[in-house]
Structures are given as C-alpha cells and as structure tokens.
C-alpha cells in the first residue's frame, strides 16, 4: 500500500504498540533548552534515573539570554539561575553537544539543530518547545513536547504516542517577488484556522514548496503548529541533500552515501492516502499581515481590518471585537495605514541568513522612519550572525538605523529584556501575536522579513511587491 512520508517516519520508529494503538515511539534527536528542561532533569534525579542515550541530546540556552552586553552576563537573577541550571544539568549528565550562553555557535535551538547537521532526514526530533515542527523541513517527524515528556525521553529514549492523521497542504505555482514562505504559512493559517491542523501531521508539497530553500521550508514547517498541527514536514529532494553536505554532525564518506540513498526514499508514495487535503495557488498569495491576537486573524497587505459586524458566528464575533480592542484598531482601517512603533526581525521563524539577506535588500540605503522607536535585528545563531557580518549585512542594517544584536529568542516571547511596552505596536517576523506575547499590552503584527523591513522604513505597512 502506498505510504505518506509521515506513515514511513512513524512506521520506522515504532518500538511497541498496545491494543488501543498507543505506541512507544523511538526518539533519535532530543533538543534541550533552559526553560522546559529543569523540572525534567529534577524528575530524573528524584527517581534515581539516568538519561538513556546521551548522544541523542543537543542543548543550548536561548530563551532567556540577553541580546546586548554579553560581557556583563545575564543580569536578571531568575533568568541567570535557569541558564546556570541547564549548565549544571549538562555537566552532570552529558550531551552530544552543548552550545551554552557565550559560545559562538549558541543560538535558537531550531536554528542551530539544522545548522550543525544535528537534524537529519528520517529522524524523530523532539524538544520541549512547540516550534520543534521546524525540523520537519528535513523530512523528520519533529514536534514539541511538554516537560513530563522531556523527562520521559531522557529516561526511556521513547515517547508514548498515538498516530496522527495525514494532512496534505499542496501549494502550486510561482510566488511573486516579495512573497515568501512566511506568507504561505500565514495564508494557510488564514484558510484553515489555528485549529485546522489539530490531530494531523501536515506535509507541505507542490511546486511552490519544492522551489523554496531549506530556510524557507523551515519557516513554513515552523508555523505548522500555529495551524494546530504539531508536526509539519517536507519530502527530501536535492535541496535537502545539498544543505546537509559538510555540516558538522552530518555523516561523511561512505556513511554519507548510504545515508543519502536512504534519505531519497523519504517522500510520499504516488497515490498515498491523505485524510485531509488543502490546495492553494501561489499566485493568489499576497504579502500577509495579521491584524488580531491569533495567527488566523490575517489578511493580505492590500486589504482592510475586518468588521466584526459582518461575522455571523457569535463566538468568532466576540473574539474579533476583543482582538480589535486589544490591538487598538478600528474595523475597515486599511492595513497600509497602520503605523508602527517597533520592528522585530528574528525568532526561530525568520532569523536565518536568507531572512536577513531579504530584509537587508529592502532597507539598503534607506533610513528607519522617525516614528519607529526601535528596529531590532536578532540573528538566529552566532554562526548566522558571523555569516551576515561577513556579507556586510550588519552594516546595511546599522546604517539604516536598526540595532544589530546578539542571537537568541529575544522579542519573539520577551523572556529577556527585549519587549514591547503596553500599547506599543510592532511589525514582527515571529510566530505568535497572542495578547501579551511580546510584552504585557504589546500589539503584534506578524509579517515576513521583507514586510517588516519595509514597515521599518515607511513607518507603516507597505506592499513590498511594488515598493522600493
């Protein structure tokens, strides 16, 4: 019987199945960061258990780390304790690799995994972080888990799972200049809603997806969770293989050839059954901007803020009204008339080298608008930062009036000092526009790196397709 990519990944990791379909699924790669691991290590310690397989663990500190003044360390004592707790846990138990605060390879866990070649096709990848779906770009079964499951994976190298449904999101056709993976992701979420993929593993396919770089595919799979799907994935092709070649933890020599031969099988078979199918035409996708407090509250940049009075469903209408009050927006306002206070380019969604290149191309030779109080670029990792500096992108941003920061999660979730003040409005390349996500009372509009860059220069949203 023809199998989907997810069927293959699932079948190749089942260790044991119960009568009700509950399975023990083997985990190849366990990514660990400071926020969701301390209680798991503590649980392990209290039960007198040891990690099952240390060489599956790759760890870094990213959520709490500052993006300025690294020579001064982590000033917030509570954040510092959390990062030092990770240091101590890795020291005690070990890991295949640890990229601590201040290491030049440190960065956002979902940027450094692929960058190091620690994420390989055919793997199961888990992390106590919902954006673990990012790694599915490499034809992995990758998803976020809770802290109890972090402990479970540490102790047993397995997860207790039930198989999800198969969902196909097929996007065909060429993308317009100025439209990218982030816009596809937001357009999909706008179509199916934030619960549209609940219970599903989503495979992204079609000519538009095959044309994306690995960076773009990571952006897309990263946002699968915002459509409710724990796991997003893309089949292996030449672009996948070319990205992996020569990465530090990727196989080499004869093992590389063997691996590539296997990886080539990681695609959905012709005629494989998907429980749900969604099709989009890339030519219909314009740059997207969220206007509310859920990623599904999204419209094309040329549109207007929707009017709740036109919504028939009462729960939805109340949600829209509440969102508009929180966002300080009136119905029917043109998206391009929304003025901004801050701009954030970064996060596990959009902080890779390609994202920074795209944003830099928009701002080159221009100045950040006077009404923008802060325009931040936070590279996803130390290596992304070094690469960007080698290409002179840091100069481009700084000359335009952006701040060029140290790597980390930063203002995506504002656990460090980077945040919005109450009422501040931000164009952000991150993944969540929930109330308070970027700081209590902060107002987030999710956009692509190019759209964020354009908004920084204009001071309000602009359609980057025809704006220079």
């Amino acid at each position: 019987m023809p199998q989907t990519l997810y069927d293959k990944l699932w079948a190749s990791h089942v260790v044991h199945v119960e009568d009700d379909g509950t399975a023990l699924l083997y985990i190849d790669r366990h990514l660990v960061h400071e926020v969701t691991s301390p209680q798991a290590f503590e649980g392990l310690r209290l039960a007198g258990r040891k990690p099952w397989r240390i060489d599956s663990i790759v760890a870094t500190a990213d959520h709490n780390t500052p993006t300025t003044d690294w020579n001064e360390g982590i000033k917030d004592p509570i954040s510092r304790l959390q990062v030092e707790t990770l240091d101590a846990n890795i020291r005690e138990y070990g890991a295949k690799a640890y990229f601590p605060f201040l290491d030049r390879r440190q960065g956002i866990v979902h940027v450094i995994g692929p960058e190091q070649g620690a994420t390989l096709p055919g793997m199961t990848v888990v992390c106590g972080d919902s954006h673990t779906s990012t790694h599915g770009a490499f034809a992995c079964l990758a998803h976020g888990i809770g802290t109890s499951e972090v402990e479970h994976v540490l102790a047993t190298q397995c997860l207790v799972q039930k198989k999800m449904q198969n969902m196909l999101v097929a996007v065909e056709g060429p993308l317009a200049r100025g439209v990218g993976a982030k816009d596809i992701a937001l357009a999909v979420i706008g179509r199916i809603g934030t619960a549209g993929g609940t219970g599903c593993a989503v495979e992204f396919a079609g000519s538009s997806i095959r044309a994306l770089s690995m960076e773009g595919r990571m952006t897309l799979c990263n946002m699968a969770i915002e459509a409710g799907a724990r796991a997003g994935m893309v089949a292996v092709d030449d672009i996948t293989i070319a990205y992996l070649k020569g990465r530090p933890f990727a196989p080499s020599g004869e093992a590389w050839n063997r691996a590539v031969a296997y990886w080539r099988t990681l695609t959905s078979d012709e005629g494989a059954h998907f429980d749900r199918v969604v099709r989009l035409d890339a030519r219909d996708i314009a740059p997207q901007v969220t206007w509310g407090t859920s990623p599904e509250m999204v419209v094309p940049v040329g549109a207007r803020v929707p009017d709740p009075d036109k919504e028939k469903d009462p729960t939805r209408r109340e949600g829209m009204e509440r969102a508009l009050i929180y966002m300080g927006l009136k119905p029917n306002t043109r998206i391009e008339d929304i003025r901004l206070d801050k701009v954030f380019i970064g996060s596990c969604t959009n902080s890779r080298i390609e994202d920074l290149r795209a944003a830099a191309a928009v701002v080159r030779g221009k100045r950040v608008a006077a009404n923008i109080r802060l325009a931040l670029v936070v590279p996803g990792s130390g290596l992304v930062k070094a690469q960007a500096e080698q290409e002179g992108l840091d100069r481009v941003f700084k000359d335009s009036g952006f701040q060029w920061r140290e790597p980390g999660c930063s203002m995506c979730l504002a656990m460090n000092a980077d945040r919005l003040e109450p009422g501040e409005r931000c164009a952000s390349t991150s993944n969540r526009n929930f109330e308070g996500r970027q700081g209590a009372g902060g107002r987030t509009h999710l956009v692509s790196p190019e759209m964020a860059a354009g908004a920084a220069i204009a001071g309000h949203f602009v359609d980057v397709r025809n704006w220079r």
Binding site: V15, H16, E18, D19, D20, T22, Y26, V35, T36, P38, Q39, E42, A47, R49, D55, N64, I78, Q82, T85, M123, S130, T132, G144, I145, G146, T147, S148, E149, H152, A155, T156, Q157, C158, V160, T194, A195, T198, G199, I225, G228, R230, A250, A255, R258, A259, S294, T315, R316, E318, G319, L413, A414, M415, P422, R432, F434, E435, G436, R437, A440
Partner: protein, 213 residues
C-alpha cells in the same frame, strides 16, 4: 501523579475561544525551575490589573473584578468550562501546572490543542471534549445557576449534572484512562519495555549508524 476517579465540583465558565498557553501562564513565570507555585499567576494578565512579575506578593495585587475567576460565585471551582481550541500555542507544561495548582482537575471544551491535551494527562488534569451544542448548553446553565456543579466520572466516562437529569458520555484513550485512574507515571510503564527499546536501538545502530555516536 494524583489519581483521578470521580470529581464533583463547581464549574467556572471561561467564555472565549482559542485561549492560548501564553494567556494561561505568561512567559515571565516560565523562568521558575520548579513545577509548583504557578496557581496565583494562572491567567495573570486577565486576572490582575497590574503587570505581574515573578516574586510579587500576589495577594496584594489589584484584581480585575470583571474576570470570571475573581467572581465570588466561582470560588473553589475545580472544573473549567471553555471554548474551542483551548490551550493552543506553546508546549509549556506550566499551563497544566498552573491550572492544577489553582485547583482545577478537569477542563471541558469542544476541542483542545494537541500538545496541551497531552500535557494535561501527565498532571492528573482531565481534558474532556463535548460537542459545541452541549458546551453552549453548559454555559447557559452555569450562568443561570450560582453554585452550579458537575460530576465527572472517569471510570464510567460520564459528565453528570447535580440533579442527575443529564448524563453525557465522553471519549478518552484506554491507556490514558488507566494511567489517570491509577495515578501511574508512564515512565515506569515504558521501562517495562526496556528490552524491546534496546533491541530496536541495536537494529537502528546497524542500519543507520550515522544517527549514533
């Protein structure tokens, strides 16, 4: 883990869809390295009028009188009635930790986000899915009758009204039900299969050696 068999408790209605885990427990409280103590900061941004930070004396903070959990009639509630896609967003297990620390043992909604749903079972918190129509009816009843209580009977997989007039069945995985009723930690259960895990791993090491070392 605390066992869950039959629960009889006051129901608190949270009438909004897509309640995300950032709303359930805001990020500043995730800096804790403990599993406990999150209850006072459950729904922090909605519950208080000021901005909460770790280390504050929450008993001295100004409460938002409009927020449902601050209304005296819902004091001591152990069942949360919610709308669709409850618990969407981040994987933070701090969300169920905050709900249980506050005193909730069950959440009833038309749908839940996957990771949150899963995390609940690890913490003795029972997520119950009922139809939108049934949920609408429960919202009406909770609003109409102060002190409204429900009984959740996990062994029989039933939600019952206090007068016994209404009984509604719900689905739950056999494995998860077994763990909840017996208060079992599933690491211990999984380790019963340690030999199978080792055998699987040995085979994998031969077939895909690049995954190891």
């Amino acid at each position: 883990m605390e066992k869950f068999t039959v629960l009889n408790g006051i129901v608190a209605p949270l009438d909004r869809a897509n309640v995300d885990t950032d709303a359930i427990i805001p990020k500043q409280f995730l800096k804790s390295i403990k599993r406990s103590g999150f209850g006072p900061n459950l729904f922090d941004a909605w519950r208080y009028q000021d901005v909460g930070e770790p280390g504050m004396d929450n008993s001295k903070r100004p409460l938002n009188p409009d927020f449902v959990l601050n209304q005296p009639r819902y004091k001591g509630a152990s069942i949360l009635l919610a709308r669709k896609n409850f618990g969407c967003g981040s994987s933070r297990e701090h969300a169920p930790w905050a709900l249980t620390d506050y005193g909730f043992r069950a959440v009833i909604a038309p749908s839940f986000a996957d990771i949150f749903y899963n995390n609940c079972f690890k913490n003795g918190l029972l997520p119950i899915v009922l139809t939108e129509m049934r949920i609408d009816q429960l919202f009406h009843e909770v609003n109409a009758f102060p002190g409204y209580k429900l009984t959740v009977d996990l062994p029989r997989q039933l939600v019952l009204t206090s007068d016994g007039a209404t009984q509604v069945g719900f689905e739950v995985d056999a494995h998860r039900k077994h763990c909840l009723i017996n208060g079992l930690d599933d690491i211990g259960l999984s380790l019963l299969h340690a030999d199978e895990i080792r055998a699987f791993e040995a085979r994998r090491r031969t077939e895909q050696p690049w995954l190891f070392g």
